[in-house]
């Protein structure tokens, strides 16, 4: 018997329309599940939404040298934990965070350890 | 809303024998399947090194030339990957955990009798 594989949709959008897309999902009744990031030749940020057990992903790509994201905390306040984590672990700048910890959400000894080129620990 | 709803359990605990065991006079018997320390029948070992490749924590070190098989007890997580992988089935997981040590870095070393080593023959 096959391990159950649920239907999940994936859509890639531009950073410019990200906030409008989040607003549309919120108006339709989707809830935010998680935000995750893959850092290889570009930053791939995936937003996951859920409604009545259906799952939809929205993906954004950022270049490695200029990682800047608009925040969706205006629509989904709960995103502040994920966006602070993106900043602390990956070094991505998020503009317009409703609750900005300024890099102090995660207490780490090596700043941005998951970025492709992690910075050296503070001496 | 009963303030005495716990009274039945309390009176039973007061009147019956204690639930705890009088260790060290009464030791707890381990089950047959309990995953404890790794033991080896060194005469059967062919020093192939598959257990070293499969160990997720790199706790096993096999030196084929010298005929030694050693395990770092503090790194071993008793997962049993080496036991499943051994082609000669000379490894097994014992019931009891390895005893506590007073210094780090004291590995358990076993010597394969059919190999010469360290200038002396094993009896």
């Amino acid at each position: 018997m096959m391990v159950h594989a649920e239907e999940q949709s994936l859509e890639t959008v531009d950073t410019g329309v990200l906030v409008q897309k989040a607003a549309r999902m919120k108006a339709d009744g989707w809830r935010l599940v998680q935000i995750s990031c893959l850092a290889k030749d570009a930053y791939e940020i995936t937003y996951t939404f859920d409604k009545d057990y259906a799952c939809a992903h929205v993906r954004v790509r950022l270049p490695l040298d200029a990682p800047e994201l608009p925040s969706i905390t205006g629509e989904y306040f709960a995103a502040f934990t994920y966006e602070n984590e993106l900043h602390d672990l990956f070094g991505i700048t998020v503009k317009g965070l409703a609750l900005d910890f300024g890099g102090k959400f995660y207490k780490l000894s090596v700043p941005t350890p998951f970025a492709p080129k992690p910075q050296q620990p503070a001496k | 809303m009963s303030p005495l709803s716990f009274a039945k359990v309390i009176s039973r605990s007061v009147l019956s024998r204690p639930a705890t065991r009088l260790y060290p006079f009464e030791k707890r018997p381990f089950f047959k399947a309990t995953r404890g320390a790794v033991a080896i029948e060194i005469e059967k070992c062919i020093l192939c090194g598959i257990c070293q490749k499969r160990c997720p924590t790199d706790a096993i070190i096999v030196t084929k030339a010298a005929g030694d098989w050693q395990i770092n007890r503090l790194r071993c997580i008793s997962c049993g990957a080496c036991v499943d992988a051994c082609p000669k089935k000379c490894l097994r997981l014992e019931n009891a955990y390895s005893p506590a040590v007073v210094q780090k870095g004291a590995d358990d070393k076993f010597h394969q009798p059919s190999k010469p080593g360290m200038g002396e023959t094993q009896a």
């Binding site: 893959l38 996951t48 207490k107 350890p113 | 997580i77 008793s78």
Partner: protein
């Protein structure tokens, strides 16, 4: 004009075993705002994919958390199996369900004990853990370990339970169920428990959905959502319903977990009655290539496992979003306006597992 003081709560605190740090802004004894901060136990487990191949990552995934260890392993194996399109034998799916539900019962019994300790009812704490010990004996007998099961494997499970053993375990589970019913009745009826939990930490239904709450925190506010309904493992063949309460306070969340314990017992009996014979694993060859998000219901809520492979033995990305991480914004909302003495009870009512949150 009341003066404001900032009290740091944690990471060392006698009540909470979890290293979470909260800066509580107080006006006299009322909490005005709570600012969380984590990172005391960050092990960087997601970065280990660069060193360990995808089969060895099962051991890492199991050890992210001690209490929900088996379900972490199961979720990781499900994600990799879906990417590699592996068919898992039916007996393995039923065994995963049985162990998963046992894991849920032991986690809830542990939480009930800690919750009682949180408001000072220590003898109830000891009794809950005493009931849990009997369950841990069954777990050790079938899997080899009390807390870290070590039975999750990509392609099935690592060991089998014989049918005779299953019948005997069913008898023992019935005794444990009777003992745990005595415990949950105390939580339901006792006056001192109600005094400390009713009306504390209120999270309305709209807030719970808007802030992304999961698990019993969401179900205690009246939303019937349980990821086991997605139909993985053997859950489609067992009849059960998500447990929902409408109280929206700490008492409602406690009742959700108490009722879930009994629901899990009935699910285990159904699984034992229906389990088919057959092999318990399949051979796995090759390496994963592709990506997938696996969603599984842990005792604390919905966990999401993201794996991405590119055809080599090492995965490209492994990402876990655990339920406690999603419950941090609702916690911040619940703490606004409460008394200082209620802070431990509210923090405990979301069932925090900080080692899961920070991996």
């Amino acid at each position: 004009m009341a003066t404001r003081t900032v009290v740091p709560f944690g990471p060392q605190h006698p009540v909470l075993p979890e290293p979470i740090h909260l800066d509580l802004v107080l006006e006299d004894e009322k909490v005005v705002q709570a600012i969380p901060s984590i990172g005391f136990i960050h092990r960087g487990l997601e970065k280990l994919v660069e060193k360990k191949d995808f089969l060895e990552m099962t051991y890492v995934a199991e050890r992210i958390c001690g209490i929900c260890s088996f379900i972490h392993g199961q979720a990781y194996c499900q994600a990799v199996e879906t990417v590699m399109k592996i068919d898992v034998p039916e007996r393995a799916l039923y065994l995963r369900t049985i162990w998963g539900e046992m894991s849920r019962i032991h986690s809830h019994l542990l939480w009930l004990g800690l919750f009682a300790d949180g408001f000072g009812f220590e003898s109830l704490f000891m009794h809950s853990w005493r009931v849990r010990e009997k369950l841990l004996d069954i777990i050790e007998e079938t899997t080899g370990g009390r807390v870290i099961f070590g039975t999750a494997k990509v392609g099935g499970v690592r060991r089998d339970i014989e049918n005779l053993t299953l019948k005997r375990i069913e008898g023992e589970l019935k005794t444990i169920e009777k003992m745990s019913r005595e415990m949950t009745d105390v939580f339901k009826n006792d006056a001192s428990v109600k005094r400390r939990t009713v009306g504390i930490g209120v999270l309305s239904k709209e807030d719970a959905i808007a802030l992304g709450a999961v698990g019993p925190t969401l179900r205690g506010s009246g939303v019937a959502q349980d990821m086991r309904k997605l139909g993985y493992a053997a859950y489609p063949n067992i009849s059960w319903e998500p447990v929902v309460e409408t109280g929206c306070d700490c008492y409602a969340r406690c009742m959700v977990r108490c009722r879930e314990v009994h629901e899990s017992f009935s699910m285990i009996y159904q699984a034992i009655a229906k389990i088919p014979d057959g092999p318990v694993d399949v051979k796995v060859t090759g390496a994963p290539s592709g990506e997938y998000f696996a969603r599984v219901e842990q005792p604390r809520g919905e966990v999401i496992y993201y794996v991405k492979g590119n055809g080599s033995k090492n995965l490209e990305r492994f990402r876990v979003r655990t339920p406690t991480f999603a419950n941090v914004p609702p916690l911040v909302k619940m703490l606004g306006g409460c008394e200082l003495a209620d802070v431990p009870v509210i923090v405990l009512s979301i069932d925090p597992c900080i080692s899961c949150t920070e991996r």
